[in-house]
């Protein structure tokens, strides 16, 4: 992203305090930009109201492509391109094709899903992490608000929210 954002964020030192703070923020209808945690916190998604991830759809679609590719390719070879009888089996021995079909289903599904994951998250080698605070990957839990277009009194409201919900530090940074 070319234009940087001005971010006001609070750091909490415990995940339970974080969850409570998020609930308070949602009650006050505050527009949370993002929440950063050092590990997947249990109950964070419902508290934030995040819709369930749909990455499994990608897994299914890629798996299907893998299965069709494998079965189709092997069938085309053995029926049409170069039919050979192996050990008296028919030209199209479906049972013999199952192991490779299975393997390619898994392979396509896994590789496809991982690529989709990195793409939609915008992650990859060479991506510079927009780190608000290095302790977020250690033991700090962070709620961030985008304050680029905010009035001073709105900012003060957020400040107050952080203080009331037990944030141990409040900082501002542009990323």
């Amino acid at each position: 992203m070319a234009n940087s954002k001005n971010v006001l964020f609070g750091l909490y030192n415990d995940d339970d305090i974080l969850i409570d703070a998020i609930k308070t923020a949602r009650n006050q209808k505050l527009d949370i930009m993002d929440v950063f945690t050092p590990f997947p916190v249990h109950g964070l998604d419902p508290a934030l109201g995040l819709a369930e991830s749909r990455i499994h759809i990608a897994g299914f679609v890629f798996g299907l492509i893998g299965a069709i590719t494998a079965m189709g390719f092997m069938s085309w070879i053995s029926v049409s391109d170069w039919p050979i009888i192996y050990g008296g089996k028919p030209y199209w021995p479906v049972l013999s094709f199952i192991p490779i079909t299975f393997e390619l289903t898994v392979l396509f599904s896994a590789v496809g899903m991982v690529i989709v994951f990195f793409t939609i998250c915008g992650l990859g080698p060479g991506v510079t992490a927009k780190v608000l605070d290095p302790r977020i990957t250690d033991d700090m839990f962070c709620i961030a608000f985008d304050v680029s277009n905010m009035e001073e009194n709105e900012k003060a409201g957020l400040q107050k929210f952080f203080e009331e919900t037990g944030a141990s530090e409040i900082n501002q940074k542009s990323i």
């Binding site: 997947p40 499994h56 391109d81 170069w82 192991p99 898994v106 590789v111 991982v114 990957t137």
Partner: protein, 469 residues
């Protein structure tokens, strides 16, 4: 995290850890200068890896004739080593995938190292079919690609080709699974590092920030990858067993092979995890994360799978007798009383008899016993493959073609060297990446950390006390 855990459960993280301490403890080995013991171990592993390079190069240069294989015994130490290493490469994915699906929290302490071990073992295993081809530079012939020979395709009916697909898929999926899990932890190392190190870890952590949505997708991805890897890990050794089971050799042509191979693979894989983790936890001072409870759990798996393998051995013998088929009967008579009887008894003792010691809790929780046992199992499982492969081939249908086989120095060098390659890779890994999954340990801290369990216990006792009065 309000997940309720029975207070009688053993803690999986000990020593009153805070989130920060977990980061400190686990990142420390990657940040300090290597210890003397690491340097010595690494040098030895390097020398052995050099032996591997030399003996493989010798094989490729001179030809497979430098091995003692002959027309009767076409597979010897090479395929024995291949199956052995592939088997060892089963524990990692089993621990991370199947135990994730079963929600076994103790997996978090050992999954990272076990997965790394899997990848290295599979990488080593892959070398054996390659050099066994003789003309290794034509190895790409195994893949179906449009070629100028017709195009003449590979034989999709052959279990050997299924193996190519199974092992390449397994290697790829294991690497993906491992690396996706590693990214948040590499980000942790990145945020602690300075200068050049920060740059390197910045590249390898893919710009991870720990955003809530990313974590959600990450968890979802891990779960589905686990769901995919579970049947995959079972399929890999099933297909390896097909290499034997679809043949017409007595002693190989049995339907029991797939489950028996899978159980054996898990058995040997866990043994290798024990061998490595007992040393690693001590050298890297990770006893608070890889506790005796973890070791005991793995010993239970070893006991179970060892007994399954043992039952399979006895079933084979019984079925050979019960079938009334003399060739099958002879194959098993030959295994136990033929020229390679010692291999059969080594296999029986190490795999069936010795794991029974783990019925005793004291033994399961004893580090020395566990370590010695893990070595026993490694040896026993190697002998199992030798018994299945070389012993069976040495005495086939026609006595006129009976033969004997003993490895040459080249084959011995390749085997010993392959252990060196494996340890070289593992020792590099413990230096550059967190050996224990940091984020996952933090995730279970509030449900399985000792201080939280203690609180839970006090709470339950108070509750019971007030109910009584």
């Amino acid at each position: 995290m309000g997940s309720i855990i029975s207070p009688i459960r053993e803690p999986l993280v000990t020593g009153n850890k805070t989130y920060n301490q977990i980061t400190e403890d686990i990142c420390a080995p990657t940040e300090r200068a290597p210890s003397i013991s690491w340097v010595i171990a690494f040098s030895v592993a390097n020398v052995l890896a050099a032996v591997f390079l030399f003996t493989s190069a010798w094989t490729i240069w001179q030809g497979v004739g430098t091995w003692d294989l002959n027309r009767t015994i076409g597979w010897g130490w090479d395929i024995t080593n291949f199956v052995w290493w592939i088997g060892i490469g089963h524990a990692g994915t089993l621990i991370s995938a199947i135990l994730l699906l079963f929600r076994q929290k103790w997996r978090t302490g050992v999954n990272r190292a076990a997965e790394a071990m899997t990848i290295f073992a599979v990488a080593v295993a892959g070398q054996f079919p390659l050099i066994h081809m003789g003309r290794a530079w034509f190895a790409f012939f195994v893949f179906p690609y449009p070629n100028t020979r017709g195009p003449l395709w590979v034989n999709f009916n052959s279990p050997l080709l299924w193996d190519v697909f199974a092992i390449s898929t397994y290697a790829t999926v294991s690497v993906l699974f491992w690396y996706v899990g590693l990214i948040p932890d590499l980000a942790t190392v990145r945020d602690r590092a300075r200068g050049f190190r920060k740059k390197i870890y910045g590249i390898f952590s893919f710009g991870w920030t720990g955003s809530a949505k990313h974590w959600q997708r990450w968890e979802s991805l891990s779960l589905i990858l686990a769901g995919l890897a579970t049947p995959l890990v079972l399929s890999v050794h099933t297909i390896v067993s097909f290499d034997f089971a679809t043949s017409v050799i007595p002693g190989w042509h049995t339907t029991i092979f797939p489950p028996y191979f899978v159980a054996g693979a898990i058995f040997s894989g866990f043994a290798m995890v024990q061998t490595l983790m007992i040393i690693t936890r001590y050298v890297l001072k990770l006893q608070d994360y890889i506790t005796i409870a973890h070791i005991e759990s793995m010993n239970k798996v070893i006991l179970l799978t060892g007994t399954m393998v043992g039952v399979a051995y006895l079933t084979e013998v019984f079925v050979a007798w019960y079938s009334g088929y003399i060739y099958e009967q002879f194959a098993f008579y030959n295994r136990a009383f033929g020229p390679y009887w010692f291999a059969y008894f080594a296999m029986m003792t190490c795999n069936l008899v010795s794991p029974q010691i783990f019925w005793f809790k004291k033994m399961r929780r004893n580090l020395y016993v566990t370590f010695i046992m893990s070595i026993f199992v490694n040896i026993g499982m190697w002998y199992e493959r030798f018994v299945i492969i070389a012993t069976t081939l040495a005495r086939d249908y026609l006595p006129s073609s009976w033969s004997l086989y003993s490895p040459t120095w080249v084959e011995i060098g390749i085997f010993i060297g392959s252990i060196g390659v494996f340890f070289t890779l593992f020792l590099i890994f413990v230096r550059v990446a967190p050996v224990v999954a940091i984020a996952e340990i933090k995730h279970i801290l509030k449900s399985s950390g000792d201080q939280y369990l203690e609180k839970q216990k006090e709470y339950v006792q108070k509750q019971q006390f007030s109910e009584k009065n």
